[in-house]
């Protein structure tokens, strides 16, 4: 934009305004950075030449805390990483410890886990959709998405008393059985939610401003996704049908009938479209799961003092943001020797530099939004 046109008046006088790189600090307290992320933009006019992220403002030393707590005590801490999708964090941690002590959750617990994980995927995507639309100047959707998200959070609250950092699962299964009326409440939500999704799509998908702001912006190709270890909706929007629920199923996901939505362009719009489709697939999974909640115990026999045999394991799940992995090293004591969390947001955010080079400043906001990162998880 600045390279091609020269102001005729300036040209006549032969005096060009000196142009130099401008450094713009976006954040740490900028509404579009969704938390405390600082993005240093190097600008040529409105064009972004280079991007550097400064992270760590929310670092709480989660991995160090893990080494100083027992396996059971550490479980609630993991909810504080991706606090938008705490259920997924807890599920991944429980699965990792369970595989280390070679225990499998009972059938009833597995189905309930799937329902909650998918409800959480919906609530995470809804929060993303509302705030992302708000970032781009669309005020309305946020009120609608928060209305639906509230219904999900009410289900969580009825189940375990907490809305966000739920600590819904325990190592070996569940702490609480389902409450009376859970099935009806969840089914009612699912049935109405599909129509709500249609409403959102009517508001946004064909909206010209929405399309102009997202189409062909922040393209990340499939090969770049692989180079930068990007997972989740960003990878699927680039055409790679990679979803751990299908690729390496856990918690019985292989028994459910659902599709992996993908798109081809890998731009912001495709990420939006993939997430919208994912919410519909989550509804499909929940409806199937509600039909087949088996009776039986909700938690396996787990020793009071957990001392996994010395060894190590890496277990990962498909969290709403991408691949969430736990690498746990045991030395045979009741505390993990090392807990490593592979946060999807951390690696997805790293690819911002690749996506944002050459775009306009306003597009950086769109790209940041469609990465859908949570800084609690980036910084841990």
């Amino acid at each position: 934009m600045s390279d091609s046109t020269v102001d005729p008046i300036l040209e006549q006088e032969g005096t060009f305004l000196e142009s130099s790189e401008m450094v713009l600090q976006m954040g740490p307290q900028h509404p579009s950075t969704h938390g405390v992320l600082r993005v240093i933009l190097k600008l040529d006019g409105e064009r972004v030449r280079d991007v550097e992220c400064v992270i760590g403002y929310l670092h709480r030393g989660v991995e160090k805390i893990g080494e100083n707590r027992t396996y059971v005590m550490f479980a609630p801490y993991v909810d504080r990483m991706d606090y938008i999708a705490a259920v997924s964090n807890g599920l991944g941690y429980c699965l990792a410890v369970e595989s280390l002590i070679n225990i499998e959750a009972p059938a009833r617990a597995q189905v309930v886990r799937v329902i909650f994980a998918e409800l959480n995927r919906i609530s995470s995507h809804l929060l993303w959709l509302g705030t992302h639309a708000l970032d781009l100047g669309a005020m309305t959707p946020v009120f609608y998405t928060f209305r639906e998200r509230e219904e999900v959070l009410k289900i969580f609250e009825n189940y375990c008393g907490a809305r966000l950092t739920t600590h819904a699962f325990r190592i070996g299964g569940l702490q609480y059985d389902l409450y009376d009326g859970f099935e009806e409440q969840t089914l009612t939500f699912c049935q109405s939610f599909v129509h709500r999704l249609d409403e959102y799509e009517r508001l946004l998908t064909g909206n010209r401003i929405w399309r102009d702001r997202l189409k062909d912006i922040g393209i990340l190709s499939a090969s770049d996704c692989k180079r930068y270890s990007v997972t989740g909706p960003l990878l699927r929007a680039a055409g790679v049908a990679f979803d751990l629920r299908k690729a390496q199923p856990y918690s019985g996901y292989e028994h459910y009938d659902f599709d992996i939505p993908t798109r081809d362009a890998g731009d912001c719009f495709d990420r939006y479209a993939v997430r919208m489709q994912e919410m519909r697939q989550s509804v499909r999974i929940i409806e199937q799961a509600l039909d087949r909640i088996p009776r039986g115990p909700i938690i396996a026999k787990v020793p009071k003092i957990l001392k996994p045999p010395p060894g190590e394991v890496y277990v990962s799940i498909e969290a709403p943001k991408g691949e969430l992995g736990y690498y746990i090293v045991s030395d045979g004591s009741d505390q993990p020797y090392r807990v490593r969390v592979r946060p999807p947001s951390f690696l997805n955010l790293q690819a911002l530099r690749q996506m944002a080079r050459g775009v306009l400043v306003a597009d950086v906001v769109a790209i940041l939004g469609t990465i859908d990162f949570v800084l609690g998880e980036v910084d841990r």
Partner: protein, 168 residues
């Protein structure tokens, strides 16, 4: 750890390709990992990426084996879309050794290696911009080392800022 030897086609191909670099191919709980020498990291990862299609660096981290002579265990988590398989590659370095950066093979290693440096103080030779990432630049020490204690950090803070002895 009761890891068992992993025998198969991939280990034998790997041994044939990098005979000097591979120490052992093992499995534990059905998960496979390869232990290699630190000077063979680039060779092994390049072989796995290009010849065996392990083209996705899922994660990279370190473990402080405080009492071992090769103190830090560096773990590379690889994934292959083509085979839908995971593989961990491990190497051991001592306090004064600088493992080589793999950012040239996997650009994703940039932030991951910075985090390992931030938390363990391991310097990666050839990293384009090795500096702290999660902690402030002026931070002293490396928190995920086993000789860093949360309690001692807390007591130091109380002593420096409140000029009293911590009761903990």
């Amino acid at each position: 750890m009761q890891a068992e030897p992993w025998e198969g086609e991939l280990p034998s191909r790997l041994l044939a390709a990098v005979p000097e670099g591979v120490i052992a191919c093992l499995t534990y709980l059905g998960q496979r990992f390869v232990e290699i020498r630190p000077n063979a990291v680039l060779e092994v990862l390049a072989f796995l990426r290009d010849a065996e299609q392990f083209d996705f660096l899922t994660d990279l981290t370190a473990v402080d084996r405080a009492h071992d002579p090769g103190r830090f265990e560096i773990v590379y988590f690889l994934y292959s879309f083509a085979h839908n398989q995971r593989l961990r590659v491990k190497t051991y370095v001592s306090l004064d050794q600088e493992p080589v950066s793999v950012t040239g093979l996997f650009p994703a290693a940039d932030w991951l290696e910075r985090e390992v440096f931030d938390m363990f103080g391991i310097r990666f030779a050839g990293h384009p911009d090795l500096k702290r990432i999660l902690l402030p630049d002026e931070w002293q020490g490396f928190p995920l080392r086993k000789d860093t204690s949360i309690l001692a950090m807390d007591q130091d803070w109380v002593r420096d800022n409140l000029h009293i002895e911590s009761g903990q």
